[in-house]
Symmetry: C2
Subunit: 108 residues, 2 copies
């Protein structure tokens, strides 16, 4: 398909701790990841609540930061882009880290 | 003492998760915190290894980000500034979080 966008994702082995922490170090991105962790499945980018509250370009930027850090996977499907948390990859690379952060996020 | 600098530190209750993650989301700052966690006592700012590798203004900036996020305490003592990790405050505000991040940092 010529219209297929190529969205790059870092390999599991290339995930970097400071890059992951930086990506989560923004209130809006943290809420995006919090929602994805709660639904625990791939959903349409447009269904991420906080993204609806900001300009489209801002949302795109935050998706890009999270994707390039390796926190989320984005898969184009027709006119939508499905997004999911890379929970297994993160657990493999940094065991316990994401759970500790999400646990803290949920308790806030 | 008129020469006493006032260094502001956020109260424990005011520590913010995204702000903490942002402060740790930089390779140099993560190494600063890693060293402070390893020594587990107050040391002179000038004894932080990575700070010796960068311009003084860069080091000052990173100390400021860590201090304002509530990760470190900086106490002027004569011509030195003693710096320490606010481990107890962080543990009280976000139980388990710092340990999980430091554990991941040590395993990298």
């Amino acid at each position: 398909m010529s219209s297929m966008r190529t969205l790059l994702h870092p390999a599991c082995a290339d995930l970097s701790l400071p890059t992951i922490l930086y990506a989560l170090g923004d209130p809006l991105r943290l809420r995006m990841v919090g929602q994805l962790a709660a639904v625990d499945e791939a959903i349409s980018c447009g269904d991420i609540h906080v993204v609806k509250e900001v300009p489209k370009s801002t949302g795109s930027h935050h998706f890009k930061v999270l994707r390039e850090a390796g926190l989320i996977r984005m898969v184009p499907q027709g006119r939508r882009v499905l997004v999911s948390l890379r929970r297994a990859d993160l657990e493999e690379r940094f065991p316990g880290l994401l759970d500790a952060i999400l646990h803290t996020y949920d308790r806030q």
